[in-house]
């Protein structure tokens, strides 16, 4: 290991973004590029795994070259290669992981296989050097919806997860119902700005319940019924859905914070953390408990490779590396010890 700052190349290909980034241990993102596949999947209203894998295979190598070029970095100047090894769509994960393995072996650098969720979980530390462990994390993306106590690198205690849909998935399904296209989160948020958040009566599943988990399937069904009734304007549906979802999130967050051991901050990460209302409401929740609130900048919330590189840096600093035969994993819970939750499936 050199004495200067460490430099890690990050690779992400677990869902529908192909991404590469170069990040230093001093938290500088020297270059990062993301090729979105929204155009590929939009006609299907969701991510088609085989199309995703094909697009990753086509785009990843040129993207890595472009990132190295932009930063004027030679691969031999990199200290380690970090690649997402799961969880996610396995065909795409394999493309990124094998690319990382080959780059690592050819350049004689260590490979660090990263859990995509750990990328999200540690991304706030990339953005905020003062954020210390342990912190409470709300991880809300298209595939996951969890509350975790982040105790250290690789040490996660899961307090809650969803028993059906993830929060981002609920936004996407609502967008589909309202004909807003894919991906739906940002579209629902935009439309909601013009609507009445109390305009449509919608349920708040599990709110007030003792069990700590999330549920959004009933909310989505209620949105569908309300929409089909023809009695409500799309903007009111979007606003009321968003309000109901946020009410659920706040209630569940409060519930978990009550039972959680002490933490330094309340942190939100994952794609839905890009939602302004979600951020402001959580910020108030944190303030009411005297907790710091940390949310990464928007471009670090949705899938990206800078967070994978950063997780690589955190693990590299601990002297960790992965063997070249490390497998790609469709499922890979952050807290393998957490009690299984019925219905949670891959979202556990």
């Amino acid at each position: 290991m050199t004495n200067g700052p460490a430099l890690v190349l990050g690779i992400e290909s677990s869902c529908d973004e192909t991404a590469a980034a170069l990040v230093t241990s001093e938290r500088r993102i020297l270059a990062q590029k993301i090729a979105s596949q929204d155009d590929v999947h939009a006609p299907y209203g969701g991510v088609v795994p085989e199309f995703a894998a094909r697009a990753h295979a086509e785009r990843l190598a040129p993207l890595i070259e472009a990132v190295l070029d932009e930063a004027e970095i030679e691969i031999r100047d990199v200290d380690a290669v970090a690649a997402t090894a799961g969880p996610g769509l396995i065909g795409g994960v394999m493309v990124g992981l094998v690319t990382g393995k080959a780059l690592a072996t050819a350049s004689g650098k260590p490979l660090i296989a990263i859990n995509h969720l750990e990328g999200h979980a540690l991304s706030p530390r990339l953005a905020d050097p003062t954020l210390q462990f342990p912190y409470a994390l709300l991880l809300v993306s298209g595939g996951h919806c969890q509350i975790l106590r982040v105790e250290g690198v690789g040490r996660y205690q899961r307090l809650a997860t969803t028993i059906d849909d993830a929060l981002g998935e609920a936004f996407d399904k609502t967008a589909k119902i309202l004909g807003l296209g894919y991906p739906g989160g940002p579209a629902v948020e935009r439309l909601a700005q013009q609507g009445d958040p109390r305009g449509v009566p919608l349920p708040r599943p599990l709110v007030g319940k003792r069990e700590p988990h999330f549920s959004f399937a009933g909310l989505k069904s209620a949105v569908l019924r309300a929409h089909e009734s023809g009695n409500y304007a799309p903007a009111d549906l979007a606003a009321s859905f968003q309000q109901a979802a946020i009410d659920c999130v706040l209630d569940r967050m409060q519930r978990s914070l009550e039972t959680m051991d002490e933490v330094t901050a309340l942190v939100v990460a994952g794609g839905v953390a890009a939602n302004t209302r979600v951020r402001t409401e959580l910020e108030q929740c944190a303030a009411s408990r005297g907790l710091r609130f940390v949310a990464p900048p928007l471009k670090l919330c949705t899938d990206n490779a800078a967070m994978i590189a950063w997780a690589g840096i955190e693990r590299f600093a601990k002297g960790e590396a992965s063997p070249l035969d490390v497998p790609a994993r469709p499922r890979w819970p952050l807290d393998p010890g957490a009690e299984p939750v019925r219905g949670a499936g891959a979202k556990a």
Binding site: Y44, G45, G46, V47, V48, P49, E50, F51, A53, R54, H56, A57, E58, L60, A61, I64, E65, I75, L89, G91, M94, V95, G96, L97, V98, T99, G100, K101, A102, L103, T105, A106, S107, D164, D165, E169, A217, P323, L324, D325, V326, P327, A328, G345
Partner: protein, 204 residues
């Protein structure tokens, strides 16, 4: 010049290193699955970790996943070594391997997707005759032109047709120097050989 050859397109996972066309060292393992785990360690076991001036990789058709793994590894290695990357169609390698023992025209039949077979005829000069096709087994047996049939479905095709002689074979990177340079492709991209399954994951 050193050449590294990679073929992951079928159950076989293989990698071989050549110096001026001579095999230095190579591996071929019949894996079924697990190419993403095995391929790179296999390359790392070669002398100089497989370092080469040119990387030649199978483009398929075969397993969609396997093709992508081979190509991803080839491109990444070439990026670091500043090497050239070339690709070849899997069936051309099978034809070349079959023609080693039997230098004559050959039809190649390989397991494809959804119960179909990939079929292509190769002439006495070893060059492809006509396009690659993905066909139901009987249709493949009906249109295969040559007496000799090679590939993973060679025996099945000969049995169905009731004539011919089968050479069961899977591609093996150690035989890549047998390929005619005319089948090598620059800027390699996968030859999937059939349309993708446009299926969303099971809805919840």
């Amino acid at each position: 010049m050193r050449v590294l050859a990679i073929d992951c397109a079928t159950e076989n996972c293989s990698a071989a290193l050549f110096s001026n066309g001579e095999l230095i060292d190579g591996r071929c393992e019949r894996l079924g699955r697990g190419h993403a785990e095995r391929l790179v360690p296999m390359i790392a076991e070669l002398p100089d970790k497989g370092r080469a001036d040119r990387v030649i990789v199978s483009l398929g058709p075969g397993s969609f996943t396997g093709v992508r793994i081979g190509l991803a590894a080839a491109r990444a290695l070439a990026l670091v070594w500043k090497a050239e990357t070339l690709g070849y169609p899997t069936l051309a390698l099978i034809a070349a391997m079959a023609r080693e023992a039997h230098p004559e025209a050959v039809s190649v039949a390989m397991t494809g997707g959804h119960g179909e077979w990939f079929l292509q005829d190769f002439g006495p000069d070893g060059l492809p005759q006509g396009e690659l096709a993905s066909l139901p087994p009987q249709a493949a047996a009906d249109v295969a032109r040559h007496h000799r049939v090679a590939g993973s479905e060679a025996e099945a095709l000969v049995a169905r047709r009731g004539s011919g002689s089968a050479v069961p074979l899977l591609p093996d990177a150690r035989y890549v120097p047998l390929l005619s340079s005319s089948v090598l492709l620059q800027n390699p991209a996968p030859l999937y050989g059939r349309a993708p399954d446009a299926k969303l994951p099971a809805a919840s």
